[in-house]
């Protein structure tokens, strides 16, 4: 069989040959800056407006430190820049999406109407939140002793998640990147963006490229984000010059006789176009074919065949998508995920066998890591994973002793590694991960478990696939892996401490969510949805189990397993198969801008700049665009925040 078609993409990414340590005092200072200055703002903004600082804050922090370094007549190497990037992202993630936020959310959820109504509130275990009526709520103290059990548990969970990254995430990286040589098409965006910033003083072509991208991003961001956010300050209703996030044609399409149950929308984020330029061409084509054309053709057929039953005329894009997911595409997607796992196992085993043969013949293994990258033996990483997962299983079992232990073991040593591998593979090929929804929920219900505590238990179910993409980003910047490890060891406790400190402070000064408009508006709805889900293990009424249809899972698996070898036999691009799988599970609306970007990249810009050079430019342009849009977004949100604060003053 011919070689995989994505090997050449890998070769064109320009991997560094030397690696350097990026962790030092600068990274620590950046961490302190983000933890004590940026993080509180991000938290406050999240409560007030439902928006995080996120990626914009990361770029701003990088630029600030770059400028400070220039003023101090020193430089930041790209490795140092990348470690700062990694630290900033990690700390901001801990602020809103991490465990600190969970405290705040739980103190609301326990006392919410939804939890009372669904009879959940009194069933939340002590190791998750103080019981209703606890003094901890009256005093509004996150450090009250009733929270201590959860504090201890939280520390363990955070540690487990990070250890997973360095153990299973690293092992998967070695497998998917070093052995299978997957291209990780989106990894160069971050890596080359950071590299471009690091070279800003030299005004290299990368810096120019980044500047062009950010200028486009600023201009687009002003229209896409700035105008709506700022108009909301002065006008009664926000003004949208461009519909966010898509133009919905689903309902209009229903007027045409053939098209039934077709979700049709065109995404309006220009970032999709840049992504389309970066992603492998055949991945985008595959994604467009399945996500758009496939649904245009197949959905009406499935509807007429009686497969798509939940859809009704009048449903919009989101409702149509959800209904179709439930009836068919969810099960089909599960089948394709299984196909990816089987194909991946075949490719990986083939490569390992080949590498073993090479080593016997030449003494050198083609799967060996590059010199100086800071690798560890895979056996060490896997033993680490086995040890920490075993103890996590025991912890979970101690907290919820009724839950079948074999299911926890299956999660920790079966499902998590398998799904992480599938996710890492798809991320390595298409840039997007995959997940099988409802696995956790279905296992809870089908186990016959009665109770609500299982929903809060630290079940060893996760996806370490994102770790492999992150390791690839680290590698592309020439950063030693040990830098990230050191950064995590130092910054993680800082992140958790700062997160707790500021959440405690915010909670102390006023009850959450009472004084925060976004939280007041959306948290009750979120609480109702979560509480409703939990009733699946109290009433036994699990509607979502009806979404799992074995015949369609089989169809999805057959699709992947038949098409892949067929395309390989005829020498056609197998990335197309992965693209179609991505299109099945992804958002069809985004397929349009990506398609436009891929066509423009392939048939126009490549001709203008040459293939090699254009492939260098595209990720940097995308990185610059993200930075530019983010900057505008952050500025607009900050102005909106100020405006909200002013209007709250009672005079």
């Amino acid at each position: 069989m011919p070689e995989e078609d994505y090997f050449h993409l890998r070769e064109e990414q320009g991997e560094p040959t030397e690696f350097a340590d990026g962790f030092g005092i600068k990274a620590i200072l950046a961490g302190l800056f983000v933890a004590f200055i940026v993080m509180p703002g991000s938290m406050f903004m999240w409560l007030m407006l439902g928006q995080q600082l996120g990626v914009p804050a990361v770029w701003v922090t990088l630029i600030i430190f770059l400028e400070i370094a220039k003023r101090c007549r020193t430089t930041l190497t790209r490795q140092e820049m990348f470690v700062i990037w990694s630290v900033t992202w990690g700390i901001l993630g801990a602020a809103v999406m991490g465990q600190g936020m969970t405290f705040i959310w739980m103190q609301y959820f326990v006392r919410s109407d939804a939890a009372q109504q669904f009879e959940i509130a009194s069933q939340i275990p002590f190791w998750r939140a103080p019981p209703p009526g606890s003094e901890a709520y009256a005093l509004r103290s996150l450090l009250h002793r009733d929270w201590w059990p959860y504090l201890a548990l939280m520390g363990t969970l955070v540690l487990w998640q990070r250890l997973n990254f360095f153990s299973l995430g690293y092992a998967l990286f070695r497998l998917t990147s070093d052995i299978e040589r997957l291209p990780f098409p989106l990894a160069p965006i971050q890596a080359k963006g950071v590299t471009a910033l690091a070279e800003s003083e030299e005004e290299s072509w990368r810096w120019q490229c980044f500047s062009i991208g950010s200028t486009i991003g600023i201009a687009f961001g002003a229209l896409y984000v700035g105008v709506p956010v700022l108009s909301g300050v002065f006008l009664r209703e926000e003004l949208y010059l461009i519909q966010v996030p898509f133009y919905d044609f689903t309902v209009s399409l229903q007027d045409v006789a053939w098209f039934r149950a077709v979700p049709l929308a065109i995404g309006t984020n220009l970032g999709g176009v840049f992504w389309g330029m970066v992603l492998p061409f055949w991945v985008v084509m595959g994604s467009f074919v399945s996500g758009v054309i496939g649904r245009l053709v197949l959905n009406p057929i499935l509807y007429r065949a009686g497969v798509l039953q939940l859809w009704e005329p009048g449903m919009d894009y989101i409702e149509t998508g959800l209904a179709n997911q439930f009836d068919f595409w969810l099960s089909f997607g599960i089948g394709t995920a299984l196909a990816i796992a089987i194909i991946g196992a075949y490719v990986a085993i083939s490569r390992v066998i080949k590498a073993g043969r090479e080593k016997r013949e030449t003494g050198i293994s083609s799967t060996a890591p590059p010199k100086g990258r800071g690798d560890v033996p895979v056996a060490v990483a896997l033993l680490f994973y086995v040890a920490e997962t075993a103890w996590m299983i025991l912890l979970c079992h101690w907290l919820v002793p009724k839950f079948p232990l074999w299911i926890l073991v299956a999660f920790g040593f079966g499902y998590t590694p398998l799904m992480s591998y599938i996710s890492a593979r798809l991320s390595g090929l298409t840039g997007h991960r995959i997940g099988i929804p409802y696995v956790r929920e279905a296992s809870f219900v089908l186990s016959g478990y009665k109770g609500v505590d299982i929903w809060f238990a630290p079940v060893p179910l996760g996806d370490a696939g994102a770790g492999s993409a992150h390791f690839r980003e680290i590698e592309l910047t020439g950063t030693k892996f040990i830098s990230i490890f050191k950064a995590q060891v130092v910054m993680l406790p800082l992140a958790v401490f700062a997160s707790l400190l500021f959440w405690s402070f915010l909670y102390r000064i006023s009850d959450i969510p009472e004084d925060y408009p976004f939280a007041m508006r959306f948290w009750p709805r979120d609480a109702a949805v979560r509480a409703f889900w939990m009733t699946a293990t109290t009433t036994g009424n699990a509607f979502f189990l009806q979404a799992i249809k074995w015949e369609f899972i089989g169809a999805g698996a057959a699709y992947g397993l038949i098409l892949y070898p067929l395309l390989r036999l005829i020498g056609a691009p197998t990335l197309f198969v992965y693209g179609t799988i991505q299109g099945v599970v992804g958002d069809p609306a985004m397929a349009f801008p990506q398609f436009a970007g891929a066509i423009a990249g392939r048939f126009y810009f490549q001709k203008m700049f040459g293939r090699q050079r254009w492939q260098e430019y595209a990720p940097i342009l995308a990185a610059g665009f993200a930075a530019g849009t983010g900057l505008v977004g952050m500025g607009a949100v900050a102005l909106r925040l100020i405006a909200s604060a002013i209007t709250m003053v009672p005079f």
Binding site: F126, S204, W205, V380, H397
Partner: protein, 560 residues
Amino acid sequence: MSETSQVEQEQESPRQREPETGRLLPLWFEVTFYAIFLPITLVGFGIMGHSFVVQHRLVRAIRTLSGDLEEVLPSFGDPRFQEAVEALMRHPVKGFLFANQEILQDVEDDPRMSRVLALQKATRWGTVSSRRQVAEQILENMDEHGQIPPEVLTEDVREVLWDIIAERHANPALLPEGEPSEQAIEAATRAMADELRAEEWLNPDRLEPEVHDTVWAMIVRRQDSREPLPLGETAVGWVRGRLTARLLEHLEDADPAQLEDEVRHVVWEIIDQRPPDIVQSYAEERITDVLRWLARGVPTRPTGVERRRLVSYLAGFEKKVFVGPEIRALRRLIAEWSEDENPLAREAAEEFEKMLDEEVTQLSPEVAALCFERADELEDRYSQGLKLLARASAVTLERIVEDERFLDHPHIYQYIFMLSKPYEEVRDSILDGLWLIRHKYFTVRFVSHFATRTEINPVMAAETARLSREEHERILTEQNNRRMRECTELLVRIGLDYVENTDHYAEELQPRDMRRYVIHALELLREDERVGQIAQEGLDRIREADLARPGEPLFFTETG
């Protein structure tokens, strides 16, 4: 773009990366790592293995107590019961939780009860399938505006419709377990009487011998079709059976013509009683109206909604066919009974096959009797299993209290929640267990919560594969009422005990807590028609005890 620098040129034409050929980590580090993590891993797996064994033993003990299709432990004194309880007592908290989890399992997930449900549905299949056939036939001939040719509504069709109407009037909501209430019987009787009275059959002044004969034939004929008993069934069968039973001593070997007065008077006595208020949903009432309109031979013009109502009625049959666990149970019954020596069992297996294909068919009385017998046996085993589990749970709770082990509040909540179970012995065991932990704050708090929960959350009564929304709501309401009653009585007991033994509660429960969770709760419940009397009497007793205790009263004063 600017010219590339030398660095960039080198980067653009990178050298081939050198693979790492030596050790990735220093030897001392690797050795230390393995020396630490291998034992940690092994210990972890060792503990996991031990936990597997413990969990397996607990599950086995639970299975022993719960029983299976073939047998269940006969009594608490049985040595195997003791053995199973001992296994639970070795890990009392886990044993307690496992026992409760088993009790909380849904009825249809138990293999015995899924057979019971399947057998009950099978015995009613003749009625259900014929009614569905009638409804489909009517719908087929009805146009959008509700017009239907009168010839479609034959005598047989109308008789089926009258049966349906009588059943709908019977209001299963009033059925306690095991036997319908007097009110339900009255309601069903009244419904039948309404229709019969329309024909003026049973007006005492108009009873003629030939009419009397017709009534007699009606009674006897209806006696033949034994109606299946509770778990959601109606009282109509009970009416018929009871009607017959009361007359039985007069009817045996008697000449019907000699009994006209007695028959007349007995029948009139039964039917001439006022039914209670029947609570049906608006949608159900409208459907009944349409059925009555059809049964009367469409005496008036249709209003245009008839078809839609009939479609809703027909949709209800989705819940009457076999679903999920019932299908599996029926298939197993077919497999077992088709090889059985008993010809009735073999006949039943053939009929079950037809039912799975949703054909219209009816079990003969003998086969139906076999199904009832088997269903009763299985339900007995199931209930016995629940009783043993509840007793075992209470025993483990006793050990938990003795050992002063920690019990989290959700477990107490779940334990009290189980007071909704239909079997009195199960509830008694739970109450015994709750009495042991009456001193805990969360026990009193949650008992008060359930006692004052006068209504269910309708959102929880969602439609399921087996139950319509209305049926689910009725079942939850029954359960809630049952639990409410038990909790109210328990509150009274706890209140009295607190007054008499305040010191035992000192640690966790203050008088202000008791006032809030017990006294105020009982005061609220005085107005409730279900438990009002219990609450009032309870309050009176607590007041009396409080005023009689040495020292200051805790809750009441002489005047209030």
